[in-house]
């Protein structure tokens, strides 16, 4: 075939490709920066995996824009007097994608499976649930080993699978009658799923694209009718330049929130594109090791807090973000609004330095952060420069994530400072307080403060057991105050993130729990 004809044919094909999709139905294309590793609700942990799971499956309760849980598969629920038993009444009109009803049996099976596989989000309920009881077809109760106030807040991470379908696809495995609990099936199935959610798994091309198709019989219905999203494609697009081109041409309907501020600025200027900001619960902190010299001295820690340039961080590094107020972000309920906030004051920093027992020979401080975290490197460089003016030396190290986790395992190897971004795993202050400061949670990258303070431990434990909201909030306020006083972190900012999308997309709802803003059922197209 002559070359010109070949080129023409290819061009025609390309045209066909780009136009065909948009004419047929409402197709949402969403970019992501990593592949989806699994769509098994008991194994998902990454943000892309969670997006997939919450659209295909349903949890008992679902967070709203303020992070408060609302009914989903569970219509109502009761908490016993002693706060140990939670009974859920399920909706009677929820069906799985294969048409069968959602029963309490499925819920019980799913929780047993979650706990048995010890994967994904199971850590939230490990050692917590002592009993799962099926009261009747639509009523199920969980009995806890001890009172756990955040329990409801953690439940959005627990999704319900179709027991019969999973059992029919089990293979030989370690779980007795249940074999491998259907893990292999869910790992390899590219167009079937065991869910009841608003979308089914239409296709899954690992590494490239995952496609969800609308489930017409979804129990919440489709209030926007024809305007709802019929098909959603989550496409792996790490290259930002390509993303921008596709957004501009209309091929990409919605972006992720992981690009730089400058990128979203560029995108907001595109014709037909809106950029929506969200004040998230993502906290950026420089965690200070309270057990390593010289940061074991509270004056050195306070010196660091006074030396940091917060204004620069919220105007240049992450414009529009709010400065943090203590360890709990304002995006989720429970922050103590009266907490003290540092500002950059080198005089006060010098004062604290001089009060320190290490003065005048303060050993070199070390900060570690992830390779590629350019924005934070800029903050560290700025801190380094500020500290240099008062005669303190800071060295910056970039390490792989794996190495950072290794270093975090022991107080002796944990560096003086670690730059970490922490997102709420459930919409409750406990997700920050417990994992960062409680002695039982020591040894992970989340707790490199090594605070190990008895008072703080007691207060946190108490707050977990206190179910009465008012009493609990008092405890939470007190513990936050103590923490800020101890200065185990430089609390920098709560990230303001951005989502770019085509103008005709409506219904976008930000929720402060990771990935729950990408609930395709919310959205519709207004052309």
């Amino acid at each position: 075939m002559p070359r010109i004809a070949k080129t023409a044919l290819l061009l025609a094909m390309v045209l066909a490709v780009t136009t065909a999709g948009t004419l047929a139905s409402n197709i949402l294309t969403l970019s992501s920066v990593q592949e989806v590793g699994t769509v098994d609700p008991a194994r998902a942990t990454d943000y892309t995996e969670t997006i997939s799971v919450i659209n295909i499956y349903d949890p008992l309760v679902f967070p709203d824009g303020n992070g408060v849980v609302q009914p989903k598969l569970a219509e109502t629920w009761d908490v016993s007097e002693d706060a140990l038993t939670y009974s859920f009444s399920l909706r009677q009109d929820a069906v799985f994608h294969d048409g069968t009803q959602v029963f309490a049996e499925d819920v019980a099976f799913s929780m047993e499976r979650m706990l048995a596989l010890k994967d994904g989000y199971s850590w939230m309920w490990a050692d917590l649930i002592s009993g799962i009881d099926i009261i009747d077809d639509y009523t199920i109760s969980f009995t806890l080993r001890e009172p756990f106030a955040p329990f409801l807040a953690t439940l959005p991470a627990f999704c319900v699978l179709n027991k019969d379908l999973v059992v029919a696809h089990t293979q030989p495995g370690d779980y007795g009658d249940y074999g491998d609990y259907g893990v292999e099936w869910l790992n390899t199935a590219v167009d079937t799923d065991a869910g009841s959610g608003p979308y089914t798994l239409r296709s899954w091309d690992r590494g490239r694209e995952i496609v969800f198709a609308r489930f017409d019989d979804y129990f919440l219905g489709w209030p926007q009718g024809d305007k709802s999203v019929d098909e959603a494609h989550m496409f792996n697009l790490p290259a930002t330049a390509t993303l921008k081109t596709m957004l501009r041409s209309g091929e990409l309907v919605m972006t992720d929130n992981l690009r730089t501020f400058e990128d979203y600025e560029d995108m907001s200027a595109y014709n037909g594109v809106t950029v929506i900001p969200a004040d998230t619960g993502q906290q950026i902190t420089f965690k200070i090791n309270t057990k390593a010299a010289p940061t074991d001295d509270i004056h050195i820690r306070r010196m660091l807090a006074w030396a940091f340039d917060y204004a620069m961080a919220i105007t240049e590094i992450s414009p529009g973000s709010l400065q943090s107020r203590g360890p709990v972000p304002s995006a989720i309920p429970g922050q103590n609004p009266d907490l003290f906030q540092y500002t950059q004051d080198l005089d006060k920093a010098r004062e604290e330095l001089e009060l320190s027992s290490y003065y005048p020979n303060v050993p070199t401080l070390h900060i570690v952060m992830g390779i590629g975290a350019e924005a934070w490197r800029r903050m560290a460089l700025s801190l380094q420069a500020a500290l240099a003016t008062i005669g303190v030396n800071l060295e910056i190290h970039m390490e792989t994530w794996g190495r950072m986790c290794e270093l975090a395992a022991q107080p002796e190897t944990t560096p003086n400072l670690m730059a970490i971004i922490q997102a709420p795993m459930y919409s409750d202050p406990d997700t920050f307080l417990y994992s960062m400061y409680h002695s039982d949670a020591a040894g992970t990258w989340m707790s490199t403060e090594w605070l190990q303070n008895d008072t703080v431990d007691e207060l946190i434990t108490e707050s977990r057991r206190t179910v009465d909201p008012a009493a609990r909030q008092e405890l939470l306020n007190t513990v936050q105050e103590i923490i800020v006083d101890e200065c185990p972190d430089i609390f920098i900012y709560q990230a303001r993130l951005y989502y770019a999308m085509q103008n005709y997309v409506r219904g976008f709802t930000y929720r402060p729990v990771m990935s729950y803003e990408f609930y395709f059922h919310d959205l519709w197209f207004e052309r």
Partner: protein, 344 residues
């Protein structure tokens, strides 16, 4: 047969080497600090979860036992489990390798298609502008880093004059053909999905060409050198003397003999292309072996890394094997001389 023995010996060395490498990685990985299980499970995993995964992966058994399990698994085609994907590494590699193979294969096609004729023509018009142009081109081509070539082509072909897609193997709205070989071009032809075929081809153009450019210059040079050699041979002189037209001389007398060294270098280029493919894949966000391998290295996913290393070793061996086969078969003189000198 000398050739068979020679090749068997070569195979033996490769096996020894790869086994040795695997022991090295294996030991270091298990001995050095760092817990891949914890890395794989994510930051919030409990100690219990980590222990459970470690047990699943067999990490709680003594080192020699682990290694034995691993090596025997290799012979069964079981490369162990990837910590990250929780699948067998063999499955992962089967998933990612075709993308790289397709890229490299197409680049070899470009090299052969453009490089050989260019070199021959260059030899024919020796020292004229075409020849000097080609020589300059090959000089420059070898000096530019492959990833720079890739960035340049991507910029020109996808942004400046936006004809080609900038990243990926298939467009967003194009569904992949049913997976048979993993090679999109083949699979789409088999299932008759011309839309996918066209889209896949369109996505392949820039990266494969970027990969080809480096080797193109070299092949042109070799082709030129060997064509020159042949053109100076007496039988060509004789043919000219007999009045046979130049074009006939080129195609009938000069081309075949000059192909031998060219094909040799093509084979070697294939082997080295795997390395360059890593760089090209990075630039074009190509979902191939490089992406998988680099990520595995950064996450200390040792089984995956071993898998990738083994694959590279195998490809390398196969390419050299084929090249040696060609040399050995086509020119017994060379084979014998080489055996004397200890194999070049």
């Amino acid at each position: 047969m000398g050739v068979v023995l020679f090749l068997a010996r070569r195979l033996g060395y490769s096996v020894v080497v790869l086994l040795g490498l695997s022991i090295l990685i294996f030991t270091i990985s298990r001995v050095l600090p760092g817990n891949p299980a914890r890395l794989a499970l994510g930051p919030y995993a409990t100690q219990d979860q980590v222990a459970s995964l470690e047990h699943q992966m067999g990490l709680d058994k003594p080192l020699p036992v682990q290694y034995w399990v691993y090596v025997t698994g290799l012979f069964r085609g079981d490369f162990g489990m990837s910590f990250q994907t929780r699948r067998n590494v063999a499955d992962d590699i089967r998933h990612y390798l075709p993308a790289t193979i397709e890229l490299v294969a197409l680049s070899i096609v470009w090299i052969a298609l453009f490089g050989i004729p260019l070199g021959s023509l260059s030899a024919k018009h020796k020292d004229k502008w075409l020849d000097n142009g080609v020589r300059l081109f090959s000089f420059v081509g070898v000096a530019i880093a492959p990833f720079v070539i890739a960035l340049l082509l991507q910029f020109i072909g996808a942004y400046l004059i936006p004809i080609f897609p900038a990243t990926g193997r298939l467009g967003m709205m194009v569904s992949a053909p049913p997976r048979i070989t993993g090679l999109l071009l083949i699979d789409s032809l088999i299932s008759g999905d011309m839309r996918a075929f066209g889209d896949a081809l369109w996505h392949l153009v820039l990266p494969s060409f970027a990969l080809a450019l480096g080797g193109l210059g070299q092949i042109a040079r070799i082709s030129r050198a060997s064509t020159t050699d042949v053109l100076e041979k007496n039988y060509v002189e004789a043919a000219r003397g007999f009045g046979i037209p130049d074009r006939r001389i080129m195609s009938k007398y000069a081309l075949k003999p000059s192909l031998i060294p060219t094909v040799t270098v093509l084979g070697l280029t294939f082997a080295s292309s795997i390395g360059n493919a890593f760089l090209i894949e990075q630039v074009f966000s190509w979902p191939g072996l490089a992406k998988y391998g680099v990520r595995a290295i950064l996450r200390k996913d040792f089984n995956s890394v071993m898998g990738v290393v083994l694959v590279i070793g195998v490809v390398f061996f196969v390419a050299n094997f084929i090249v040696d086969l060609i040399i050995g078969y086509l020119d017994p003189r060379i084979r014998l001389r080489k055996e004397q000198q200890g194999n070049n």
